[in-house]
Subunit: 290 residues, 4 copies
């Protein structure tokens, strides 16, 4: 299990959301409440958009709670759009190249969950990645494979559609290998101007995912809270698990759905329906039988 959090809104010191918020993401690294495992101590990542085309990515194998450099960066960098992730490894090594977010050009990608029986499906999925992107896969996580499949299947033009095709492809490959419950989790994506988030599981309940409510509703709930008073209509947070001090200020994102957060904090809901890859994209391993 992992936990992630994304902010899109006014530029804020990153530490406000990482360290100064009760039960923020760094606290969730030690004491997650909504997952099977409370501890997410197998590395950390922070991607932020600032000046320049490419977002910065800081990734560390130290647990988030003890990483002195993370505190420094969070205290000295403001950003209008950033994504953080704390990792609980489930098999793949604890190394920087396995820490989220993953990056491709302007794009960042995080995931909480797993592909079932990765060792069985990994080769076929790697073959389905655009050969031009193959060498960009640096680590050994399922998430990085999913990201590069999604890039192959159009993430940069249509993020939600590309993820629907990617999940459809993974499910098809899993089925051919007799693997059940192929995909589990929530996904977060950004291009530096929007956030997209998906909640989906092939079987059973998907990992939790929440969006912050419209600021007016939150303000009515907490009329005297000074931190809320500083928020504007432009601000939106997506989280695996709500911050502890603001009950009622969150909307659960329904299973099998996705949201888009645009400039001005605008939140749109979409259904999320995995679909077989479009014609012309082969399902690896399907050659003989399809």
């Amino acid at each position: 299990m992992c936990r992630w959090m994304a902010w899109l809104g006014q530029p804020v010191p990153i530490e406000e959301l990482l360290f100064n918020t009760p039960h923020g993401i760094v606290d969730q690294a030690l004491h997650a409440r909504m997952g099977a495992e409370p501890t997410n101590g197998d590395g950390f990542g922070l991607g932020w958009y600032g000046h320049g085309e490419i977002p910065a990515v800081y990734r560390s194998v130290a647990p988030a709670w003890s990483d002195a450099n993370l505190r420094e960066i969070a205290a000295h960098v403001d950003s209008p759009l950033f994504i953080t992730h704390v990792r609980a490894a489930i098999g793949s090594p604890v190394q920087q190249t396995n820490c989220h977010p993953f990056r491709h050009g302007r794009w960042l990608f995080v995931h909480n969950g797993y592909l079932a029986e990765l060792a069985q499906v990994r080769r076929d999925l790697m073959l389905a990645i655009d050969p031009e992107l193959f060498a960009d896969v640096q680590g050994s996580t399922d998430t990085e494979v999913v990201f590069h499949l999604a890039l192959t299947l159009g993430l940069e033009e249509d993020p939600i559609g590309a993820l629907e095709r990617t999940v459809g492809l993974v499910e098809a490959v899993a089925t051919r290998h007799g693997v059940e419950g192929a995909v589990q989790g929530s996904f977060g994506v950004s291009d530096g101007e929007h956030l997209w988030a998906v909640r989906y599981a092939t079987e059973g309940p998907a990992r939790s995912l929440f969006a912050s409510a419209d600021i007016e509703s939150v303000r009515r709930l907490y009329p005297e809270n000074p931190r809320i008073a500083e928020l504007t209509n432009d601000d939106r947070v997506i989280v695996s698990e709500p911050f502890a001090d603001l009950p009622g200020a969150w909307h659960e994102i329904p299973q099998s759905s996705a949201v888009t957060v645009g400039q001005g904090g605008k939140l749109e809901h979409h259904p999320f329906t995995p679909r077989p890859p479009a014609v012309g994209i082969s399902v690896p391993g399907a050659g003989a039988t399809a």
Copy 2:
């Protein structure tokens, strides 16, 4: 909070106690049950006696559960006497020089607990360390200071007595600084032939500490257990927290007491009574007023 474990007995593959035991020390790094904090992810240490005069010490800032090298060493090294420690840092940095066990010549030292208000008492305690040993303090933990004080006060001749004097000294310094509840914890010590363990708190209940029962009693409890069948009368384990699968096989070491484990698994109990440092050892900071 931390957790530690020591083995004295027949040579065994270290992994037997670290990884192959339900709720062994590595599992306690993630899921400790008897402390205020379940997670001990701020580094790890393993000291073992083998050939040569000096014990080996492997220390890592990675959490014990994800350290690939620890699994390798534990699987390939047998030892008749080893001590392991998983750390939950409370203020001092996560770095190898702050990981237990600490070593001096043939001696190893571990600690679960703390000195209250370390920043206030650290200077005076450092001054009380034998100047010849001063430069050996490499890290910034309270434990390393306690160890070097104990060495100064005779650890190598009389471990329990030296720890009584050390705790007495720490309590005296704390009192002068208006610090309450000066010492908390359990201490483990070895010279390669014996184990000593102390359980003590200046105020309130001390950290938990257990010794394994005589092997005959354990065998009557678990007549069919194959792991127990391999144990001999020579084997003894001291732990912060019992392994999960052997209820009844442990004796709690009473507060304000100490035990010695000798060759042949012989277990002796002693009272533990902090005493003012012997004449001729000054209490730092006491010069003007005492």
Copy 3:
């Protein structure tokens, strides 16, 4: 550039060859003399055979010269057969999964050199790996790909032959991609009873490689050297670069050749001739034309 060293002979404390030898492998990490780069500070690995079927592997991203744990292990472990490697990364990340030696069952594998234009050929080479082994590739080095290709092509039955086929395959794939100078380097392999070493480059001079001379010749050269006096006829060392204090005690292994070291220190020379993969093994990317 990297440097490696292998010992097969009487059991010795590993530190004798790592730290106690002038210009040994750890010194070569800082001051290599025979390569384009003097510094090999991008990680370290040590694999040793002891009790048990599987060799132990200790790998670290710290430079070998500053890794405190390496000194501990080297001082406390004796082994009759071990391989060490210091790494100078050329593109792939500094992470444990990119440190040599790589391991498969009883087999260890190290490499000094490179595959030219890895990003261009990596996908085709990965496809040629036995699908059962695909998921075992954990890192992103060229070496790990070569190792798994060699395992696919029979390393466990015929190490030199499998490496000839592997290098032949890599050269064929490189040619199809217009890549020149496909393979450069020396390779070291062990199964716990033998050592095999290969020196080869597709173009130009290959990385240096040396075997220690028969002990009688060395003894005649250094009649009074106490370290030499302890060596027996069973002892053989293979090195990228000779230790500094024993000029004349080394035989250069010729380019395009291989050696086998067997029990009793027996050294056999073989030619090394890359050959196209045997019938039935496809050259990836060759589908349309073959």
Copy 4:
């Protein structure tokens, strides 16, 4: 040996001086030319002033040349004043708390050189540190001791004077212990508005130190260089060792002297004369005999 570099001037992307300059500081980590050792691979630090009172400090035990996070930070942070340091450890462990720069409030401190026979003088020097600052010494370097002595002796009011008193104190303590050549090196200090740099050795030549020339002279030397064209009169660089591509653009700072760089790039030279600590500051160890 270590190498350091400081920038005071217009805000620039930190990567310009760390990575985009031929033979910049990161290259000097691998290939220093003016020191006894070419390799400075034992950790790295970067301190920068941005928004907020306190400068940020990023410190890592990875060699600067392989630290992926350093590239990210350097590419995404602009600063008008920053100091970087690459370390070659000489005895003390490679750990973040031993990496420069050290920080106290708004102050940053770096050092290239050593205190002779640190183990012999460390205790007395630690005792001379203001007891209020004693617990702030987190690591085990000589530099951190020097910094806290200088803070004790007035660094925040008179940086050069405080360093003269500090060096005088260290020399006095060394003399009492029979240690020769007490102090060696260059020191860099900043409060966020100025830079101070000192070059001094008790005996023999001091570590090299250079200041960039006035921009007009540099421009006459390199009339067509586009990087120079972007510099203004406000910009000044202090370096252990000049960048490779600008011969003639540097002034060597004479031994036993100091410089101050103020706003607008103004450079002032001062003599540097160690002096005995002022009355009322005791020389530790001198009590009985002085």
